[in-house]
């Protein structure tokens, strides 16, 4: 019961932080410099981990399907399944989980240490607003960066999958590639990217929210950071199911 109340309070606080960030987004002057900085730090710097994860996921998925479909004489369809699995599900979700762990915890650690050293108070005391200076740029940056990273993951995942399919099933790369491009429709891409926009927002907002409520010195920062990784992962997995249900209803 207590846990449930805590959950409700958290959701309320996160919603309030979201509203405040959106309001700051529309205030002039536009803090483009801060957003660009966060895009570099959280977004650009995450490309290598994204490529690595997507590459191996595509490969292992192909391996499983190629071998798993063999008894049914269906291994020809490996390319289809791999591309759908990557673009709709694994690209967005795995990228979000990895980037969420890396960037979301970084946000909490950074803002959390600013909070326990009174730097967040100092921002306010000096006439500025922590939501505008700290939260909004990070949430915006992640909401933009994660879909872009996901596109990259989709491409890398499909290509590496095609490569393994070629080796395991014994078809040409061209064959798998054509099969994939025929299978995938714009809606599949939209399906995956819509989810990753939401995941990006979740990573940014949960990371910042946990940072702002950090207390208890450096020990508190450690606790908050760990908590962020857990919260973000759960939020992504749960909302993935809900969003998938919704998008399947919309896009079919």
């Amino acid at each position: 019961m207590n846990g449930f109340r805590e959950l409700l309070v958290s959701v309320g606080e996160i919603s309030a932080l979201t509203v405040a960030s959106v309001r700051e987004l529309f205030k002039r002057p536009f803090e483009s410099r801060l957003i660009v900085h966060q895009l570099e730090q959280g977004g650009y710097d995450s490309w290598s981990i994204t490529v690595l994860a997507a590459g191996f996921t595509g490969m292992v998925l192909s391996l499983q399907f190629a071998i798993g479909l063999e008894p049914f004489g269906a291994s020809m369809y490996t390319g289809k399944l791999v591309s759908l699995g990557i673009v709709r599900e694994l690209g967005p979700v795995l990228t979000a989980l990895l980037v969420g762990g890396r960037v979301g915890s970084g946000y909490t650690a950074e803002i959390g240490s600013m909070n326990v050293t009174e730097q967040v108070d100092a921002i306010r005391a000096l006439g500025a607003d922590p939501v505008r200076k700290l939260v909004m740029p990070r949430v915006v940056a992640m909401t933009i960066a994660l879909p872009l990273l996901t596109i990259m993951a989709d491409i890398v995942g499909c290509l590496s999958g095609a490569f393994i399919t070629m080796l395991e099933v014994g078809v040409t790369f061209r064959f798998v590639f054509d099969q994939m491009t025929e299978t995938l429709w714009v809606v599949d891409l939209l399906h995956g990217l819509s989810k990753s926009v939401f995941f990006g927002y979740l990573i940014g907002v949960i990371g910042c929210w946990n940072g702002l409520r950090t207390f208890g010195g450096t020990e508190g920062v450690g606790i908050a950071t760990t908590r962020t990784v857990v919260y973000i992962s759960i939020a992504i997995l749960v909302s993935d199911f809900a969003l998938t249900r919704i998008f399947l209803a919309i896009y079919g």
Binding site: M114, T117, E118, Q119, D121, A122, R124, A125, L126, G127, A128, D129
Partner: protein
């Protein structure tokens, strides 16, 4: 005596079950230097933070310059914070920025003027705290005493009328303690600022104080001149003052 510029009346504040104030009353007059003393964790920092709206009291009122702090909107708070500056306990410099950018922060937020004028102001205030030419250093390269002085430079950059010092000399060597005390005095004498100084250091109290206030049992138990304090009935107060002066023979 003149009408006080700051007045706390009947302020209560608690964090969850932890009640910090139950009926805080305090008045501060223009141009005076008031020191606030009291044991660790009794709420001295909380008192300063409530005054500039960083924390909100549960009940009671706080007036500054004739306005009720709790009723100020965002804009009102920003303009209040340009008149009342705060030097935080750990200086709260922004680690990611150079000394120069730290000091420019409030200047930019309050539209101080052209970049040239801002640079000039930065050198001026660094001169005032006796550390000219360190614009390009990062906070990590500064000693504790230097950080406090840069923090002070940042607080006075936009020419506040009131300065709140949260333990400005705690943890510093005697030379730095004297230097900071000298700065507090000279700011008051040269610029006529009103100072509220939270401190544990009785030397500081007796060098700079016009009046001192003791936080005890969730309220201000005493406010008056050092002489009045020495002769006060409240034994805790006398012990506090004498303890700090290194006298052990408390007469009962």
């Amino acid at each position: 005596m003149a009408e006080p510029i700051i007045r706390f009346s009947g302020v209560t504040k608690s964090f969850g079950d932890n009640s910090v104030y139950e009926g805080l009353d305090l008045e501060i007059h223009r141009g005076e230097t008031l020191t606030i003393i009291g044991g660790s964790g009794v709420g001295k920092s909380v008192c300063l933070k409530m005054l500039i709206g960083l924390m909100v009291p549960d009940a009671g009122t706080i007036h500054a310059f004739g306005q009720s702090v709790t009723e100020l909107g965002d804009q009102g708070l920003i303009s209040l914070r340009s008149r009342i500056a705060m030097l935080f306990q750990g200086a709260a410099l922004f680690d990611s920025m150079s000394v120069e950018d730290n000091i420019k922060y409030p200047l930019i937020e309050h539209n101080w003027g052209t970049p040239g004028e801002m640079n000039k102001r930065v050198s001026e205030v660094l001169e005032m705290v006796d550390m000219p030419g360190i614009q390009k250093l990062k906070p990590a390269e500064l000693s504790g005493g230097m950080r406090k002085r840069v923090g002070l430079a940042r607080s006075i950059a936009i020419k506040p009328e009131v300065i709140l010092y949260d333990e400005p000399t705690t943890g510093l060597d005697p030379v730095n303690v004297r230097r900071i005390n000298g700065l507090i005095l000279s700011l008051q004498e040269r610029l006529g600022v009103t100072s509220i100084v939270v401190t544990h250091d009785m030397d500081t109290v007796f060098t700079i104080t016009d009046r001192l206030a003791l936080v005890y049992e969730k309220r201000i138990a005493f406010a008056g001149t050092p002489d009045e304090a020495r002769n006060h009935d409240l034994m805790y107060l006398r012990e506090f003052i004498q303890g700090g002066r290194g006298t052990l023979d408390i007469d009962f």
